[in-house]
Amino acid sequence: MAEKLTEQKKLEQRMLTPAPKLPYRFMALLSRVLYCKKFGVKFNYNIDLKQYRGKSYVVVSNHASRYDHAFTAPAFFPDTLNYVVGYNEFFRSHLAGLLRTLNVIPKKNFVPYPYSVKQMIRVIRQGGRIMIMPEGMSSISGANQPCAVGSGQLLKYLGVPVLYTKISGGYLTSTKYCLDDRPGRVEVTVDLLLSAEELSRMSEEEIQQYLNEKLYHDDYEWNKTAKVRFKGKNEMAKNLHTLLFWCPKCKKMLTMKSEGNTIECTACGNKANLNEYYELTAQGEDSLIPSTPKVWFDMQRSEVRKMVGSDNFELKENVKIGTLPEYGFLKKQATSEITGEGTLILNKSGLHFKGTKKGEVFEFDIAPKFLPTYGMCTDVSRFYTFVEGQFIEFYPEKASAELWMMATEENHRLNGGAWQDCYLKNEDACETSM
C-alpha cells in the first residue's frame, strides 16, 4: 500500500504555475471591497503600469502588516501575482485552501529553502509575476528589517524588471504588538525599482544595498507629517510592553506593563501615553520617554546588544514548543500545536534547546551564524525557527519573545553573521530623541 503523504510532503511536491486568473482576480477585487475602503487605502503610481501589463516582472515591497496582500494586489490589477508567503501559513485551516488555489509560493523564512526558489524561477519562466517581501516577516517595530541575505542575488538571477510598492500607514493600521484593526489611512506608492538592464549591470551586493535603501520606511516618522489619526478605541498601548520591554529610565528589562493608552514601568513608574496619532507623551515630570516607539525600540536594541556582547551572556527560559501537524490543518487560527516543552538557552555559542517533543527527548543546537532571527507568525507573543527543516515555535513563559528575538539577532551580528543591521541607529541619535 502506498505511503500516506504528510501535508508537508504534499506541499513540497507541487510544481507551481502562474497564479490562476479567475480566482486571483476575484480575491483581489474582494480585498479592494473589504479592506481598501475600510482602511482608507490610496494608490500613487510613479510609473505607467501599462508598459508592464501582462509581462513578467517581480514586485518587492516593505512588509508593513498582515494586510499587505490587500494593499498590494489591487495595485497591479488585473495582473496576477504569485505571492511568496511563510511556509507555516499553509498549515492554518483558514488559509490552507486559498494559498494553494492561488499558487502562492511557500518560503521557510531565514533558512535556505531551494523549493521556494525553484517555484519562483518556474513562475517567471512561464511569463508570470511574483511578489516578494524580502524582509521575510511583517515589520516588528514599524520600520524595516534589512532584506534577507541573497535577495539581490535572486533578483539578478531572475533578470526581469523589479517593481516595488512602498506601504505607508500599514503598520499603524495593524501593528505587530496589537493585531486590532485601527483604520486611518494607508498610502501605497508603486514605482520601478530596477529595469532588467540595470539588474544585469549591477552587482548582487549593489542590488541588495539598493533594495534596502529603497524599501526602507518608518511609519512613525511618516505620520509626523501625514498626521493621520488611527482609530484605536482607547487601547493604543494594548500589548505595547511585549514590544517595548525595556525601561528607558531605570534600564531594567521586562518590567514594562501596558493597558489602554498607557505604558508604564512597574519598577520605577516611568510612564507614557500613546495617542491615536501614535505620539508618545511622558506622563509625570520625572518620566523619560523616547520620541516614538521606533526610537524606543532602537534604544532598546542598543541595550540588548551591549548585554549580548558582555562576558558570560546567557538568556534562559522554560518554553513550550509547537510544531506543524503531519496530517490535517491547524484550527482556530492557531500557528502550531503544542507538542513539547523544555529549556531554551541563548549564549555566544548559539541557541540550545533541551526538552521533549511528542513524548520523546528532543535537543538541538544552532550556531549564531545560522540563526539570523526568528519568525513571528502573528503578534509578539511567540517566535519560531526551522530546525533541520522542521518548524518549531517557542512559547515563552514570560512576555519575553521580543527580548529573545533582539538578543538572537544581535548574537548573530556580533558573532560573524551575514545579516547585519544597516539601520541600527547610533546611540547619540537615540539619546537626543528623548
Binding site: P114, L154, Y157
Partner: protein, 77 residues
Amino acid sequence: MIGQIIEIIAQQKEVDPSEITGETDFYNDLEMNSLDVVSCVADIEELSGVSIPDDKFTDIHTVNDLAELIEQLQKGK
C-alpha cells in the same frame, strides 16, 4: 536521463554538451552557483515528473549524482 540532464545544463550554461560527462561537477567544473543548480533542477523536475526534496540538494555535486537521484525517486513513485 543522463543525456537529458546534460542537454539542459549545456543549454543553461551555453556550453557544448560534449564537454559535460557524468563526472562533471556542477560547482567546480561548470562554476555554477547554488541558484544555477536550483534552476537546472527545476527544469529536470518538470522533465522527469518528480520533485527533488530539499534535504537531497546537498548530495548533488555531479551530473551522475543528479541522474541517480532522479532514478531513485522515479522508482519510489
